[in-house]
């Protein structure tokens, strides 16, 4: 990646939505937009799982916190809950909600992590698993007596993201080039993804990042070297959660609609799969994992369904469960045969190899 001149890479990325639009159709630009969201999520989880070695199974809950944050403050919905206070809802700007959501999600990460981080990693996994489920129960049930989340129906009519007076939900002309909404979101998500990559990259090389990796490899040794393991683990957890919150906000604005269904356990597991399959702790590996897994359902839909119809005349295995089956098998296979992932970081691969030799 580093060998290509940067401006060529930039040009390719900038032209990408147009190329996809022309070759595959506009629907695929939307799919790629979603893939970018997933990549952001996966990079956030990578901080927790990949760098600090803490297994978080309820990561999607932080995504949900961010999404609902924007859904509540950026839609007419609050008028239903508090008609006197907000007669036509609170329509906060996206740029105001973004830091709020990041802080809120990060704070929740700290609250959740604090009781478990003193204990062994397995407990954290279970607690986060439970937390993900609890958040969903609350989202599903907080429609009475005060209608806060609108229950299973979810919140719709969320304001589209608006930047510098320009709504991203309509085709905009920039320098005489008409940019459809999906293209605009592509560039927005690209900016954020690049930001996340940048932050991850800087973190990895920083004192904090090295401390995280020391904790991941051997917590006792790390604390003997003077690392405050508890605070650093909390920081990893909060940071990952904050990234999740930011992606959630973007998701709500892009989709214009949120419901508890989007935040099921399977989504958490899918993000985890991206990190594990791609290569825990390796930014490019995680991006590859995110891209692969986010595009896979579409590819399956376009390949498996017609294939089954041609072979058996009907659909025997629906692509959704086939996808999950493949994920599950892939998780097992990767852990058994390629524990550092498909595209591991060179350092990590070396570490795992020496582990085997011992």
């Amino acid at each position: 990646m580093a060998k290509l001149p940067k401006y060529i890479l930039l040009l390719v990325v900038v032209l990408l939505p147009f190329a996809i639009d022309a070759l595959l159709g506009r629907g695929w630009v939307r799919i790629v937009d979603f893939a970018m969201l997933y990549i952001m999520l996966a990079l956030g989880l990578n901080i927790v799982v990949g760098y600090a070695g803490l297994l978080d199974l309820g990561y999607i809950a932080f995504f949900a916190v961010g999404a609902y944050c924007y859904a509540l403050t950026g839609s007419p919905h609050l008028a239903l809950a508090f008609p006197q206070l907000f007669p036509d809802g609170l329509h906060l700007s996206f740029l105001v909600v973004l830091p709020m959501a990041a802080l809120l999600a990060g704070g929740m990460g700290v609250i959740l992590g604090a009781p478990t981080l003193r204990l062994r990693g397995d407990y954290l996994a279970i607690v986060t698993l439970g937390f993900g489920e609890i958040i969903r129960i609350f989202m599903n049930n907080l429609n009475a007596p005060v209608n806060l989340t609108n229950g299973p129906q979810g919140i719709s009519r969320i304001d589209p993201i608006n930047i510098a007076g320009m709504s991203l939900n309509a085709t905009q002309k920039i320098f005489g080039i008409a940019l459809p909404s999906v293209h605009l979101y592509f560039y927005l998500f690209l900016t954020f993804a690049a930001l996340v990559v940048f932050v991850s990259h800087r973190l990895e090389r920083s004192r904090i990042g090295r401390a995280w990796m020391a904790i991941r490899e051997d917590e006792v040794a790390a604390s003997a070297m003077g690392i405050n393991t508890r605070n650093l683990k909390l920081l990893a957890f909060a940071m990952g959660a904050a990234f999740g919150g930011v992606s959630g906000t973007l998701f709500a604005g892009f989709q214009g609609f949120v419901s508890p269904e989007s935040f099921s356990l399977m989504e958490s597991i899918m993000v985890l799969c991206m990190v594990v399959l791609g290569g825990m702790g390796h930014i490019y590996g995680v991006i590859l994992g995110g891209l692969l897994l986010a595009l896979m359902p579409e590819m399956l839909r376009h390949s498996v369904v017609p294939m089954q119809q041609a072979l058996f005349g009907r659909i025997i295995i629906d692509p959704e469960s086939l996808r999950m089956l493949l994920f599950g098998t892939a998780l097992i296979a990767v852990m058994l045969y390629r524990p550092a992932g498909l595209w591991p970081s060179p350092v990590r691969r070396r570490e795992l190899l020496t582990d085997e030799m011992e």
Partner: protein, 307 residues
């Protein structure tokens, strides 16, 4: 008062199922120090297998008194094979790998089992066949049905049997020895791999029984039931002190009671703001509270009793 008693009864019935599942978690944890995430899905498979065999046998006109044990045996056999396979494929190769690795394979196994079940049995709820007229008994105004009575008694018998197995037999001694120190046990001539396999199989057999009990109690089974059940049973194991058999039983019963009383009274406590739909939140709150205040669980100190 009647409502209170009724909630106690419901809690005990639910709690004995949790206890059986929690035993599976705790036995594996005691021996390997590993949380068998896939255990909840084994319970689900047990429920689905026994239910479909039962329905088929009743369908060909077999007497329920013959069909029930037969389906249970088949489910237990299936689950034991499953437990053995899971340990062999997903855990054994990773016994010396970093801690994260077996956790991730366990999640993989759960997903695979869940989706296999969905492919085999579909997304629908399967209802438990009406086997015999389910009499109900009145105790001080509260109602307990035959099935519930059987569940509690059977669970207690199984737990007593398990205690005997662990404390009175050669196999049990081998299990305790491995829990104490795997290498030392190996040097003393214990076939560690075999004992670990057997432990997984016993846990899975208990899971099959629990699965049948849950579906009989609620009259329902479906492919997604294992997740929440597993989470709660794990909470029960932690509450009692993970790795401790008596702790798992105590924790299971306690958690059942907490849940049932909590769901029964949450409406009154919060002035109607929250209702019984928040029942599932209690297990989680208990888990957090235990981890904060007493991470070793209620009976966690008596390490000598670890199985």
């Amino acid at each position: 008062m009647e409502i209170f008693l009724q909630q106690i009864i419901n809690g005990l019935v639910q709690g004995s199922v949790y206890a059986l599942v929690a035993l599976g978690y705790t036995m594996v944890y005691g021996i390997l120090g590993l949380i068998n995430f896939a255990h909840g899905e084994v319970v689900m498979m047990g429920a689905m297998i026994s239910l479909s065999v039962l329905t088929a046998l009743i369908g060909i006109g077999l007497s329920p008194f013959l069909a029930l044990p037969l389906s249970l045996t088949l489910a237990m056999a299936g689950c034991m094979a499953l437990g053995y396979g899971i340990e062999r494929i997903a855990y054994r190769p990773l016994r010396h790998a970093p801690r994260l690795a077996p956790l991730i394979t366990a999640i993989g196994v759960s997903i695979v089992l869940q989706n296999l079940a969905m492919m085999i049995w579909g997304r629908d709820y399967h209802s438990f066949p009406q086997l015999f007229s389910n009499h109900t008994h009145q105790i001080f105004g509260a109602i307990i049905s035959d099935i519930q009575l059987i569940i509690v008694i059977a669970a207690l018998c199984i737990m007593a049997g398990l205690m005997l197995l662990i404390h009175r037999t050669r196999l049990g001694r081998a299990m305790r020895a491995i829990a104490e120190n795997q290498h030392a046990a190996q040097l003393m001539g214990v076939d560690v791999n075999r004992v670990i396999s057997i432990t997984f199989m016993i846990g899975s057999a208990l899971a099959a029984v629990a699965g049948l009990m849950v579906s009989a109690n609620y009259g329902l089974a479906h492919y997604y039931m294992g997740f929440l059940l597993g989470l709660k049973a794990f909470t029960a194991a932690v509450l009692g002190g993970i790795g401790n058999l008596r702790g798992a039983m105590l924790g299971g019963l306690l958690l059942g009671l907490i849940e049932s009383l909590g769901a029964g009274y949450i409406g009154d406590i919060t002035g109607g703001f929250m209702g019984s739909q928040y029942q599932d939140v209690f297990a989680f709150l208990v888990l957090i509270a235990v981890l904060v205040f007493r991470p070793s669980g209620l009976l966690g100190e008596r390490l000598a009793e670890r199985a």
